[in-house]
Amino acid sequence: MPDRVLLKIAVPMVAISLLLLGMGAVAAWNVQRQQAISSNLIVREVEGMLAAQDVYIGMREIRHQLNQYLRNHNRGYLDAISEIHNSTEKRLKEAKDLARAPEEQQLISVVDDGYRRFWDSFQQINSAGFPDDRDRALGVLIDDVLTREILEPGEQYINYNRQVVERTNEASRHSSDQMRQGFLLLGICGGAGGLVAGLGIARAVSQSIVRLDVSVRSAAGKLNSVVGPVTFSRSGDFDQLEAGLQTMERHIAEIVERLERSELEVLRNEQLAAVGQLAAGIAHELRNPLMPIKILVQAALDRGDDRGLHGRQLEVVEEEIEQLERSIQMFLDFARPRELEKAQVDVVGIAEQTLDLVAGKAERQEVTIHETLPDEAVWIDADSGQIRQILLNLMLNALEALPEGGRIEVQIERSESAGVAGEGPGGRATIRVADNGPGLPAALLERIFDPFVTTKETGTGLGLSVCKRMTEAHGGSIIAGNREGGGAEFVVTLPCSGTNGAPPAAGPGRASAIAPIRTAGGTM
């Protein structure tokens, strides 16, 4: 926006400045050219005139010397003429050189011809022997040649040159007038252009201010409802606009402060809601398993005999106690992740162990579990407890999705290293747990691994979140999706260690790696 305004103001200014600069430059060049032409012309004409005048003066000097001679008959006058002749001839030659115009050339050539004739006649007369004849011939020479053929055209030549100088002066004056008019015009045009540009710029700026003012007023109107009235008395005025903007700035700062406060409040509410959800989840996860225990134990107490609990009743109590332990562990894992206790473990062995754990529950729910497990061990460098918890969570989720029976598929396979991310030296292990239940709601699919996100009305929404964190802690990944035929599918990928493919003796024994787990689930 500032660039556009700058452009709007700068472009006409620059255009007019360039125009004025161009006009000024042309005018200055023209003035200089005219001055140079006139001054050359005048200099030449003046020089020509001076040369012609010198010639004229020389001729008159010669006539004067001749007249003196005719009066005194002193030959010294004639000798002086010879001296004058040299300078006069030189001057005549200069005048001929300076004559440019045809009229000048014609006149100067007449003078030149006349002078030649005079000089030739003068030399002949001067060398003649009889003084009377000489006097007479000189008198004729003065009247006929010197006066008529030289002095008269010489005068004409001088007059002509004077006229030329006057004409040149006139032309120069005319040119000066033109210059004056031109500069006057330039001044008027420049002034008018500047005025127009100034008006245009002022108008554009004023319009911009008005538009800005309208926007500011509109914004102020919107602020009214939040922070009370924001007043403006006039428009199109910089001071008023600035004052309005400052007022708005204060109001906006107030609004931002309020927003920050409410954001903190929302955050706190969200945290409280999350804590509430967690508390409700904990309550549900702990109260549900407590119910069968409480009922069985209280009923046994009320019976008053010493038979106590027996058979399936004890199994139920144990199952529920284990469920309580798992829930508590899950909350702890969520709140404070355990440190990994990595060892070489066989993921197939852990899966078999976990399947044993859920087999009873699956049977009661009429769920069939289809296992596709490799014959040989798949070794991973992992915390066996966490891997077991991941598998158990996924299998229990699948079972919960099938309250009226169904089918669960558990599949493990190892693929050799293919140079992709998430692989170990022995490639990667892919564990797939799928069910044919209702599947995951599309709305929850993207954030199913976020904490507190659950498909169950009273679930904690922590199980999958903990699974994801544990999988990633092992350098693996977990993805969730829906199967084409219906039902949910979870795929866990874990990097395999380098012991895969080695003879069984080389790696740790399966039994030793999973021994504690077998003990834990031994009664199942």
């Binding site: 309550a283 109260r287 119910m291 139920v316 729910q365 309250p403 169950k456």
Partner: protein, 159 residues
């Protein structure tokens, strides 16, 4: 023989209720989902229903509405692991017989079930005697019925 319908998706809870409430006088049937519970309620016409608020296929209140629609006089005891007052108030407003919090105290449960069975029985007697008029709850029980009910209650021994 009276019938108690337990609608809960936790097999161990169903097992413990069947073990401790079931007797020669009381048959305990169970359903793992609200839909199954609704079907059984319509088919077996139980005397009392124990309904878990959390069910896999629908919310407890919706499940209550469906079962309540089959027989409005059927006492439905709702059980929840949540301590949410709103759900309890709403359930009672809609006509639930009682609202219990998990883990339910066995003695309290036994009392509530016994009372509910009595209410159900009285409802049935009243319905048979005076089908179209008045509320059965206000009618006093006949002596014979009261005696029989007392006998049942004495015979109902835990486990």
């Amino acid at each position: 023989m009276a019938t108690l319908l337990v609608v809960d998706d936790e097999p161990n809870i169903v097992f413990s209720l069947r073990e401790c409430l079931g007797s020669e006088m009381l048959r305990v049937v169970s359903a793992g989902t609200a839909r199954e519970g609704e079907q059984l309620a319509a088919k077996l016409r139980p005397d009392v229903v124990l309904l878990d608020v959390r069910l896999p296929d629908m919310s407890g209140l919706d499940a209550f509405d469906r079962i309540h629609a089959i027989d409005q006089r059927l006492p439905v005891i709702m059980i929840t692991a949540y301590g949410k007052t709103e759900t309890a108030i709403e359930a009672m407003r809609r006509g639930a017989y009682e609202f219990l919090l998990k883990p339910v105290d066995f003695r309290q449960l036994r009392e509530v079930v016994a009372k509910a069975l009595e209410v159900s029985r009285l409802n049935r007697v009243a319905t048979t005697m005076l089908p179209p008029i008045g509320s059965s709850a206000t009618l006093p029980p006949c002596r014979m019925c009261t005696r029989r009910w007392g006998a049942w209650r004495r015979r109902m021994r835990p486990c």
